[in-house]
């Protein structure tokens, strides 16, 4: 039996849990919607303007950095598996070069102020 079948079953159970809970809620919870209740919450002030208003592009910077660096971790895991085999010290050097280049990128990002908030 493949462990993935269990995973699939767990996912199914999880969804079942959600559905069941929502069913219970539908049975038990009251429903009395009013206009005021359904209004978007704005700390007591009426909502004004688009929801984009405060969106900060700076968040994307971290997305970039993440995609740049974290995806490279993809190579670390396979390497970690085989390094104690035939590869030895040379491969250690190679991975050091690999990570070193990544670090240069990180330093570069830092120098160009990507990691400064203000």
């Amino acid at each position: 039996m493949s462990p993935y079948v269990v995973i699939a079953a767990v996912v199914a159970v999880g969804l079942l849990l959600f559905v069941a809970a929502m069913g219970a809620r539908a049975l038990l919870a009251p429903r009395a919607p009013t206009r005021a209740k359904l209004t978007t919450y704005e700390s007591g002030v009426d909502p004004v303007g688009r929801d984009w208003a405060q969106t900060q592009v700076r968040y994307f910077v971290y997305a970039f950095l993440y995609v740049i660096f974290a995806v490279d971790a993809v190579y670390l895991f396979p390497w970690a598996l085989v390094v104690r085999g035939r590869l030895g010290a040379v491969s250690l050097l190679e991975i050091a070069v690999f990570i070193g280049i990544l670090l240069v990128g990180l330093v570069h990002a830092a120098r160009r102020g990507l990691l400064r908030w203000l």
């Binding site: 969804l15 959600f18 219970a24 209004t39 919450y41 971790a73 670390l76 895991f77 010290a89």
Partner: protein, 319 residues
């Protein structure tokens, strides 16, 4: 026993653990925080030291009205809690409590658990986006940025453990564990713990839900049971991360009578870590968003890389 039955049993077992352990952690949090702050905490529900407080909370949540704001993207808004919660359930299924007590023994379970927990952030993003609320969106953005930033040091730290063990499987890692790891994997362990707390958006890394700034972040518009699901997700996250830490860095089921009581050891170690996570909440004030990001990129990432280098050298020299 036929396969179908076994699968069902395993799944239900995971579900049971998933429902019980977070409650345990939640109750612990109530009490531990209370005592750290010199108060009692819940004392009435259920009688003995308010043990049923969280159950009562649950019942209350079920009975509360569930509001979907008129401006919200209804389907996504309603489905988001499930997306936030189920990944932790899945992750829990792959964590071994002992070589035998494991629902799904995947070949690359370390990677799998990391991947599964990362999916949870989608729920937060969906919630923030679908709420059509500035605070929600802002909170979701913060959450996403935070998760992205801390995912990297965490992955690197785990990579270093995998490297030390020469295995991607959690069982394999725990099997390869030796007490020496407590020393030379220490930087990685610290990185992992910090990153885990940050991923869970727990204080001191709770900017995404910072109530003094953005009401309650992505969950601002949620009420009733759906809101409870997000809360449950947070505590389930603590459970998953603590157990993961226990398996990765503390040897999991290693201990006295590990053949019989291994699962207990794992739970115990995980519980200790959970207490640490709770303690962090009490002990530290909230970081600013920029401090948080700088910590990730300029401290944790280099530290994790250094850990990787140490492990690499160690592995190559001892192999």
């Amino acid at each position: 026993m036929s396969d179908a039955v076994e699968v069902t049993l395993r799944a239900v077992g995971v579900l049971a653990a998933f429902l019980v352990l977070p409650l345990l952690v939640g109750q612990t949090e109530h009490k531990v925080m209370a005592h750290m702050q010199g108060r009692l905490g819940p004392m009435y529900a259920g009688g003995f030291h308010g043990w049923a407080q969280l159950v009562a909370d649950g019942v209350k949540f079920v009975q509360k009205e569930d509001i979907t704001p008129a401006a919200a993207d209804r389907r996504i808004f309603r489905f988001a809690p499930a997306v936030a919660l189920v990944p932790y359930l899945v992750a829990l299924a792959a964590i071994p409590l002992s070589p035998d007590v494991v629902a799904a023994d995947l070949p690359a379970s370390a990677v799998f658990v990391l991947a599964a927990t990362a999916v949870g952030i989608l729920g937060t993003l969906m919630a923030g986006w679908a709420s059509a609320n500035k605070y929600s969106l802002l909170g979701a953005m913060r959450a996403a940025a935070q998760l992205l930033s801390y995912e990297l040091p965490m992955v690197l730290a785990v990579a270093s453990v995998c490297l030390a063990a020469g295995s991607l499987s959690l069982s394999g890692i725990a099997a390869a564990w030796s007490p020496w790891w407590l020393v030379f994997q220490l930087p990685g362990a610290v990185v992992f713990l910090v990153a885990a707390v940050a991923e869970l958006q727990r204080p001191p890394f709770d900017m995404p839900v910072a109530d003094s700034e953005i009401v309650f972040g992505a969950y601002t518009e949620y009420t009733g049971l759906r809101f409870a699901f997000f809360l449950l997700g947070e505590y389930a996250g603590i459970v998953v991360m603590s157990l993961l830490f226990a398996v990765l860095y503390l040897g999991g089921w290693r201990g006295l009578f590990s053949d019989q009581l291994g699962w207990l050891w794992t739970l115990l170690k995980g519980f200790c870590i959970a207490v640490v996570v709770i303690w962090l909440r009490v002990a530290w004030p909230r970081l600013r968003e920029d401090q948080l990001q700088r910590l990730a990129w300029l401290v944790l990432v280099p530290l994790a890389l250094a850990q990787l280098a140490i492990t690499g050298v160690w592995v190559v020299t001892t192999a």
